[in-house]
Amino acid sequence: MVEQVNSFAIKTKNVSVHYGNKMAIDDVTINFTKNDVTSLIGPSGCGKSTFLRCLNRMNDVIDSCKVQGEFLLNGVTDIYGDSIQVETLREKIGMVFQKPNPFPKSIFENVAYGPKIHGLASTQSELNDIVMESLNRAGLYDEVKDRMDDIATGLSGGQQQRLCIARAIAIRPEIILMDEPCSALDPIATARIEELINELRENYTIIIVTHSMSQASRISQRTAFFHLGKLIEHGDTSKIFTKPDKEQTNDYITGRFG
């Protein structure tokens, strides 16, 4: 793979995160290639979710959380810089959470929420188009087209999660962060989401935290292994899962610890 500056969606350098006095991330440097799915794996509490949340500054609201290091979006924009507003940043870096969290509003309103806030549609028909397209891409449109005004919390878990993905892509982000998006879902819904992630890869850069090694190997091109707040190893998924450089990675992947 040719590594050019432009081919990185996000570059990070020497990232450390503290909660109060407790260190959560210890000097992590990692670059995320564009239009790839990168899996962050590692045992519980290794800091992979914390790291993910740093990328779109979701940790800002936690008072005790202190983030240090360099974060560059597309190689130029400083994510934590003064020149960028956090709202604009999150317009570019969307996020899907572990537990489906649709707003207690109608299905339509859930997807239209982001576009409305950012003024992406000037007319109602434009808004309709955005909502339809987003639901379509999330593979949900056919299932809900007859009940767009029903409350979203009435959908099944898998449908809710796909709705959240539709909601995230409705504001046309460049990058989508996913924090264990399948951990609350059954195997069939999980398979559906994995399929979706694979399709989304064409247009988006996806960074996904997952506990399932098989999932990481199925869906991602790149994999990063975290342990105790440190990035142990990072590389092509095929390499990480077949002949990792580090003993520790090998142990984790073969299930010897974690």
């Binding site: 779109n56 979701m58 609201v61 008072d63 709202e87 604009t88 940043l89 999150r90 317009e91 969307g94 996020m95 959470f97 537990k99 969290n101 649709p102 707003f103 207690p104 509003k105 929420y113 982001g114 806030i117 950012h118 919390t153 959240c164 909601r167 995230a168 504001i171």
Partner: protein
């Protein structure tokens, strides 16, 4: 005496707990008997067996003490004409005998002159009865003591002896405790029903004098008209028609409550939003209890704040801009009441806003929404039902509030929607109708029950509505 006995009872029950438990443990470890319950339950079993009969009998004695006394003292032998006495006279004589019984057995030298004259004034029969009463009290005292000490000890020992491998104490103890808990909740429910029924019956009494249609739809409130005519001659129906019109009280109540809500809703809701969404944990920990203190200030304090500071201030301000303001305006009472119910709105709304799951906030932030957009478009709509519930609870509190309006609003019924004029409320009129030496044989006092019933139904309806709304809201996230 009774407190001493109670103390002894507590000590006895503690002792029996240990005795029962010890015996069970003894059987288990030294007797090698397999017990069917945990040793603790045998302790409880002995305590309950020892206490419950004693307490029940004591309660019975207490309940029927008066009857026993009467049976024992008020015999037709001493008072031949007792069957002709009215209840009032009977009570008076009993009272007198009670006083006499304290001194009748004392040596003459210990008595004061007053007490001596009381003794001299009493008839021979009364003195005998007083002596009987004194004896009765002595017997009653001993009976109590026996009940409290001897009976539990006997029962306790019997219960301890009955502990064996066959006795399964656990289901017995749990059954008894279930009965006790059930009984407690039934008592609360029965008392509520009792209060409600007493309201209903007296209100029915009132509606014998006044046509319910006149009460609910007439606009004149002049309860003193009922005094113009002599109660014994009956009442002139025409006079009563416009004496007890409920409408001006209703409008006054609603007017003052509206003023209160206009103050409390925006202030309460905004402080709730601030506390729940913007305030740091430290500010919240300090500010929330302080706001809640507002609810703890006695309403009478708000009353004189409204009457002595707020009302004159409003009058001055009003007059300086040329508005005629009454010295007892609905505005003053409403403002003070509004301040009082701020914590109801803010505290409850704060709770429901806090109860909106963090995941919804995260979801909104992750879509690039600002904090105020998130509050406006996600959090408040999600918490709306709960917030409405808090408003309704505050309204029912405002409608039921008495002291502030008694002190700051007027007593004169006034059919108006102008908050600068005086107005009176349902609660105020209940108070005024019951002030002074009252007999419940005329509509002027009986109206209190009709008003109370109406008020009760109004607030009940609001509370049911509020609870339903809050419940509906809760179901959404579970």
């Amino acid at each position: 005496m009774i407190y001493f006995a109670l103390l002894i009872l507590v000590i006895i029950s503690y002792l029996f707990y240990y005795i029962g438990k010890k015996r069970a443990l003894n059987l288990k470890f030294n007797g090698n008997i397999k017990l069917s319950s945990q040793p603790d339950y045998f302790g409880y079993y002995v305590v309950l067996m020892a206490l419950i009969p004693a307490l029940l009998m004591w309660f019975g004695l207490l309940l029927f003490k008066g009857n026993f006394q009467e049976m024992f003292v008020m015999s037709p032998i001493l008072f031949p004409d007792i069957s002709t006495w009215s209840d009032g006279k009977l009570g008076l004589i009993l009272n007198k005998l009670n006083n006499l019984s304290v001194i009748v057995n004392l040596p003459l030298d210990d008595l004061t002159n007053g007490e001596k004259s009381i003794l001299n004034m009493a008839s021979e029969n009364e003195l005998t009865a007083a002596k009987n009463l004194a004896n009765f009290d002595k017997i009653y005292g001993w009976a109590n003591l026996t009940l409290f000490i001897i009976l539990p000890i006997i029962l306790g020992f019997l219960a301890t002896r009955s502990i064996s491998g066959k006795l399964n104490a656990q289901p017995i103890v749990e059954k008894i405790i279930t009965y006790i808990i059930k009984g407690s909740s039934y008592i609360a429910i029965l008392i509520t029903i009792g209060i409600f029924l007493s309201l209903v019956f007296e209100a029915i009494n009132f509606f014998r004098y006044v046509n319910p249609v006149d009460f609910f739809f007439s606009t004149g409130w002049n309860p003193n008209r009922a005094f113009v005519v002599d109660a014994s001659e009956g009442f002139d129906k025409d006079d009563l028609e416009n004496a007890f019109g409920f409408i001006p009280l209703l409008t006054g109540t609603l007017l003052i409550a509206t003023v209160a809500m206009i103050v409390a809703i925006p202030l309460g809701l905004m402080s709730a939003i601030y506390l729940a969404e913007y305030a740091s944990k430290r500010v919240r920990d300090i500010a929330k209890p302080i706001i809640e203190i507002l609810a703890g200030i006695p309403t009478v304090v708000y009353g004189f704040f409204a009457a002595l500071s707020l009302a004159p201030f409003i009058k001055d301000v009003g007059e300086s801009v040329g508005l005629p303001v009454s010295a007892e305006s609905a505005l003053a009472a409403g403002l003070a009441m509004g301040v009082m119910i701020i914590p109801f709105v803010s505290s409850l709304s704060d709770d429901v806003i806090k109860a909106v799951p963090q995941s919804l906030r995260d979801g909104s932030y992750a879509l690039g929404a600002t904090r105020s957009e998130t509050i406006k478009k996600v959090i408040l709509p999600a918490a709306l039902a709960g917030i409405m519930g808090s408003f309704l609870l505050a309204v029912s509190r405002a409608i039921g509030e008495t002291m502030i309006v008694v002190m700051a609003a007027s007593l004169r019924a006034n059919l108006t929607f102008n908050p600068l004029e005086p107005a009176t409320t349902i609660t105020t009129q209940i108070v005024t109708s019951l002030i002074g030496d009252v007999e419940f044989d005329n509509p002027k006092t009986l109206v209190a029950f009709a008003l109370g019933l109406t008020l009760f139904l109004m607030t009940l309806l609001l509370n049911i509505l509020a609870i339903t709304i809050v419940k509906k809201y809760r179901e959404k996230y579970e």
